[in-house]
Symmetry: C2
Subunit: 317 residues, 2 copies
């Protein structure tokens, strides 16, 4: 007797054979099965889901492997290792962690604007001193440089606080919810215009030292910069100079250059600098977020849909 209200999905193709490596991680194994895949040894695989870094990745993949899912959003180390070939589709985890990183980036910006960096370190009641330094996101214009998954997840958060978003994207196609979107060739316009900056662009040859002495000099003395992308997007030496001279409000960084930031570095103790050690996307949240991403991509692979976060080897992300 047929069940009512429950239609059976008949897949277009047989269940894809997925190799999960290097280890059998339970959450990811479940995700592969949830997405309609079957776990197989590498030699029999149509696709590979990889849960660790490039060091342990197989030197050769069988020709049968048409797709490789990598576990991170940033893929510089994979490109540097020369592993990402053009014989198959490679996908990153870009977007999988966007919500968590957006939450952290919003926290860093709020903390900066309201003076929490210095308040959190105080050991006495410095009300009169701190009071005048407390700002607000209400009415502020926040530029999101590289407004992809993280930036898009930030827009409803910043909007709830009464801020407006100025989005910078490669295409310049209007980002929903942003007050304005400009394409990356017009990035130079934003430094003097926005009140605060969130750096969320991929690390490429074009974006290295995107924030340098010139751009810092154009910012307002109350501007905060948040970086949740990669440390190399900011010229650290120029930033330390601007923070020491108080030519900007401050910087709240979850990523640094160098990283890890060495003990004794001025960014640890400058009162207008706030460092979190690359934990916007903490390991305790990784597995669940990655599992959801893997399940979605396996399902798309099974039904020959468009995969999420396909790596563009030309652009390098």
């Amino acid at each position: 007797m047929p069940r009512i209200g429950h239609s059976r999905v008949v897949p277009n193709t047989r269940a894809p054979r997925i190799h999960l490596g290097p280890d059998h991680e339970t959450a990811l194994a479940g995700a592969v099965e949830r997405g309609g895949g079957v776990l197989v040894p590498l030699a029999d695989a149509d696709a590979v889901v990889w849960a660790q870094g490039p060091d342990t990745f197989p030197a050769e993949l069988p020709d049968s492997v048409r797709w490789v899912q990598l576990p991170s959003a940033g893929i510089e180390s994979w490109l540097a290792a020369g592993l990402v070939d053009r014989r198959r589709i490679w996908t990153s985890a870009a977007g999988a962690y966007a919500g968590n990183v957006a939450e952290h980036a919003t926290l860093l910006l709020l903390a900066g604007v309201r003076g929490l960096a210095e308040q959190a370190r105080a050991t006495s009641w410095r009300k009169a001193e701190f009071d005048t330094g407390v700002g607000t996101l209400r009415g502020a214009t926040v530029a999101i440089v590289g407004c992809g998954g993280i930036g898009r997840a930030m827009i409803p958060l910043l909007t709830a606080f009464g801020a407006e978003v100025l989005a910078v994207t490669r295409s310049g196609i209007p980002v929903p919810g942003a007050a304005e979107t400009v394409d990356a060739t017009r990035t130079s316009e934003i430094w003097a215009r926005a009140d605060h900056f969130v750096i969320a662009a991929p690390a490429t040859a074009d974006t290295a030292h995107l924030v340098d002495g010139d751009t810092l000099a154009q910012m307002k003395p109350t501007s905060w910069i948040v970086n949740v992308a990669r440390g190399v997007l900011i010229d650290t030496e120029a930033l330390v100079g601007a923070l020491r001279d108080n030519t900007i409000g401050g910087a709240a960084l979850d990523v640094t250059d160098p990283e890890p930031l060495p003990a004794g570095h001025p960014l640890w103790t400058l009162p207008n600098a706030l460092i979190t050690p690359h934990i916007a996307n903490p390991a305790n949240g990784l597995t669940r977020a990655l599992a959801d991403h893997v399940a979605a991509n396996v399902e798309r692979f099974a039904t020959e849909g468009r995969l999420l976060a396909v790596i563009d080897t030309e652009r390098g992300y």
Copy 2:
């Protein structure tokens, strides 16, 4: 010739005569006029707008004064001084500062949940140690105890982060946007139920030490408490004990008991405590917020509308 699209408002009554004291503060004088009032000496006044504390308040008011607007949201010092009589209407500034305090309270909660209290004080890259302590507001239930103007302003913020609000109010009438509202007689139910707590209730005899050893013992080991109301709502000694024993996640306090918190107090240095020195509503934002509140109330007074934030002398807020 009449202007098109601009109708003239004819007031029901003559312009109310307002005394502004103790000083002629420009922003507040402008607010009185914006609300339709005329500035006059105390002896001629229908109403008084007071910009400072009770110490300099006139010992006697003329019988003609039917309304007094006080400058703060909390009014304990005015009640203690015996100044709030029943011969006229008294209004506080409750609600005027709600948006700014809501922004700060949300920052404190996020900072706590994501481990920023300890991260902000680090002077080396303690990623492995901090990583596992990073939480998220997504999916969390946040109880707002005393869900008035500040709490209502927090609801869209917390909701944007994916949290649900459990509102506690005196009446128990459902608060728009809250997942659930309970009346204050059921407060005892929330301590074991919610993930985190925002204390935003007025300080009264009923609310003193609302958070004590018993209630702390019911909270989860990951629960954060934010206090943006008055220090006395939390039993400080019991809180320090819970923080030392790690029986709760932590406490982020903009108000303390005693206040100012003395140097050397354990709350300054406990890794799971975060103190801001009563700057949720900073002085630099006071004047504008109070001015808007005064203008709105003068206009309501002029048109015999219902005044905002009328003090209930029975309840004491």
